[in-house]
């Protein structure tokens, strides 16, 4: 369960993607509002020694979508900020969820994970606003548990006239965010967590 928690932490990291950039700074860019996208935020953590796989997924709570924020694409540069409600993370086991949120993420105190893009430059092939590119590097700042840390990953991008499809992937470490290593009855979560975020929605 603790593992789950750790995984949740990771997810938070994933929540990073998105959005961002003050809209007024990019008046001529195209924007994606995360609340209007099909967003899938997941983390994958591993519990040792059995190598238990803990996958956490952000799930909507009623009408509220887990991921908020937006991103803007202007002249091939992506800016923006994403906010993930950590209480929406679900690892499939209720007790694990509870441990993750209460004991490790402390979601009452730190309800959100935030990600701000610091560097995402689309390749020339996408500068016209349409096309496809894989494994484009990006950098950003992830804030979880009140701690900010730089992270780096890759994104697969598919742009069309009025739509964007993006798949972000990055790794982060639980101890970087002042979160205790999740451990429960002999199962200890590995420090590294993989975060994936998939966004599909209108780019207007």
């Amino acid at each position: 369960m603790k593992n789950t928690l750790a995984a949740a932490a990771l997810l938070m990291g994933s929540s990073l993607f998105a959005n961002v950039t003050p809209a007024q700074a990019l008046p001529t860019g195209r924007s994606m509002d995360f609340a209007k996208t099909q967003a899938n935020v997941e983390f994958l953590a591993v519990g040792k020694p059995s190598m238990l796989k803990i996958r956490g997924t952000a799930k909507p709570e009623g009408e509220t979508k887990p991921l908020q924020g937006n991103l803007t694409v202007k002249d091939g540069v992506v800016t923006g900020k994403a906010i993930l409600a950590l209480n929406t993370l679900d690892t499939g086991i209720a007790l694990r969820n509870r441990h993750m949120k209460e004991k490790y993420l402390e979601t009452e105190k730190f309800p959100n994970a935030e990600f701000t893009f610091t560097e995402l430059k689309l390749p020339d092939t996408l500068k016209k606003g349409e096309g496809e590119a894989n494994a484009v590097p990006f950098k950003g700042v992830l804030k979880i548990h009140g701690v900010e840390k730089p992270v780096a990953g890759t994104v697969d991008v598919k742009l069309s006239k009025d739509k964007a499809d993006m798949g972000f992937k990055f790794q982060t470490r639980i101890p970087d965010f002042a979160i205790n290593t999740p451990s429960f009855l002999g199962v200890t979560v590995a420090e590294d967590v993989e975060v994936t975020v998939k966004l599909e929605g209108p780019l207007t």
Binding site: K48, S50, M51, K53, G92, L95, L185, G186, V187, T188
Partner: protein, 355 residues
């Protein structure tokens, strides 16, 4: 011959099942067994973590702490863990000549594990309906350098790692290839569990009596993703009656958290002794969890071993109503050594309780 085969059937049916493992837990990300079981190959006494999973994941209903020893009545016992398996089965078989049914006490085993530093000692003690009523099917020592070490060394009596460790001991891929009930041998096992793969290498040393395997076994698995695994197995050895090699492949595929497949195919090559020749054994089970703890499944088997063809096609329901309890109702249309190699309708209702 037919009478002899029926007698064999009766003896086999009376035999106890070995450990109780749940390879289907892979659909929840449990790609290896050691989260929930002390044994690296699964089955038998549960860890404290495993008892919590019985509440959280396995059972239809539960309350906090119910998965503990004796339903939580026994609190923290420190480095000593307790367990025990009890199972009864009502079997029914109808073929062209006979309709038979019998009630069978399959298993009455107590089990304990004691951990001291990097070493854990596990042992079972049970009684059985045989001339020698006392039995210890498993007793071994485990050594792991640290709590999270991927390496484990195990020595003692247990069933060596080969294929999927399912409790269905009558399967073609279990009993059919000599890995059914009461086939535990003395072994020395090295296992390595990595994030994406696992390896088991076992020196199989036999047992006091003749008729038990001696040789070596290898098993390797690769995690396709966080809820699916494929692997291969190999065994070479003899049991004093025949010398053989086994080659196997298996798959445990969790399509979703509710739908999974267990499949295994083996090729046995008996190179000396009885049952000479090459023959396959295969098993597959597709299972769907309709609601938490309640499963329906379809299964099939095929084998051609020792010159005899065997097959089975069945349906079943498995239910884990609360921690500690399991009920299973199974029906097969079967024609193999379990039915005396005559076509038969074969069914059973099994009740399992662990303390």
């Amino acid at each position: 011959m037919k009478t002899a085969l029926r007698a064999l059937f009766a003896v086999c049916a009376l035999s106890a099942v070995t450990a109780h493992a749940f390879p289907e837990m892979i659909r929840h990300g449990y790609v290896n067994c050691t989260s929930c079981h002390f044994s690296p190959t699964g089955g038998g006494i549960l860890t404290a973590y495993g008892r919590v999973q019985a509440e959280e994941v396995l059972s239809t209903w539960s309350k906090e702490g119910e998965g503990g020893v004796l339903h939580g009545l026994v609190g923290d016992t420190g480095p000593v863990s307790f367990g025990g398996q009890f199972r009864v089965l009502q079997m029914w078989k109808r073929d062209a000549s006979f309709t038979t049914g019998r009630f069978i006490w399959m298993q009455n085993d107590l089990e304990a594990a004691v951990t001291a530093g990097p070493v854990t000692v596990v042992a079972t003690a049970g009684i059985q309906d045989r001339a020698d009523p006392f039995v210890s099917r498993r007793h071994y020592a485990l050594w792991r350098t640290t709590e999270t070490s991927p390496w484990t060394v195990r020595a003692g009596r247990f069933l060596y790692a080969y294929g999927i460790n399912t409790p269905d001991h009558i399967l073609a891929t279990k009993r059919g290839i000599g890995l059914g009930e009461d086939t535990e041998t003395y072994n020395v096992e090295f296992s390595y569990l990595a994030e994406h793969f696992d390896i088991f290498a076992t020196a199989v040393l036999g047992f006091f009596n003749s008729g038990y395997d001696r040789g070596f076994a290898l098993r390797g698995g690769w995690n396709l993703n966080d809820r699916s695994k494929i692997g291969v197995s190999f065994f070479a050895g003899d049991n004093g009656v025949r010398t053989r090699k086994l080659y196997g492949a298996y798959a445990m595929i969790g399509f979703t958290e509710h739908l999974f497949l267990l499949a295994q195919a083996d090729l046995q090559n008996v190179v000396a002794g009885t049952g000479l020749g090459l023959g396959p054994a295969a098993y597959a089970r597709v299972d769907y969890e309709f609601l938490k703890g309640l499963h329906g499944y379809a299964s099939g088997e095929y084998s051609y071993l020792g010159g005899l063809t065997g097959y089975a096609a069945g349906l079943g329901v498995q239910w884990f109503p609360r921690p500690h309890f399991e009920l299973r109702l199974h029906y097969d249309r079967r024609d193999d050594r379990n039915t005396g190699n005559v076509p038969a309708h074969y069914g059973w209702l099994m009740a399992h309780y662990y303390i």
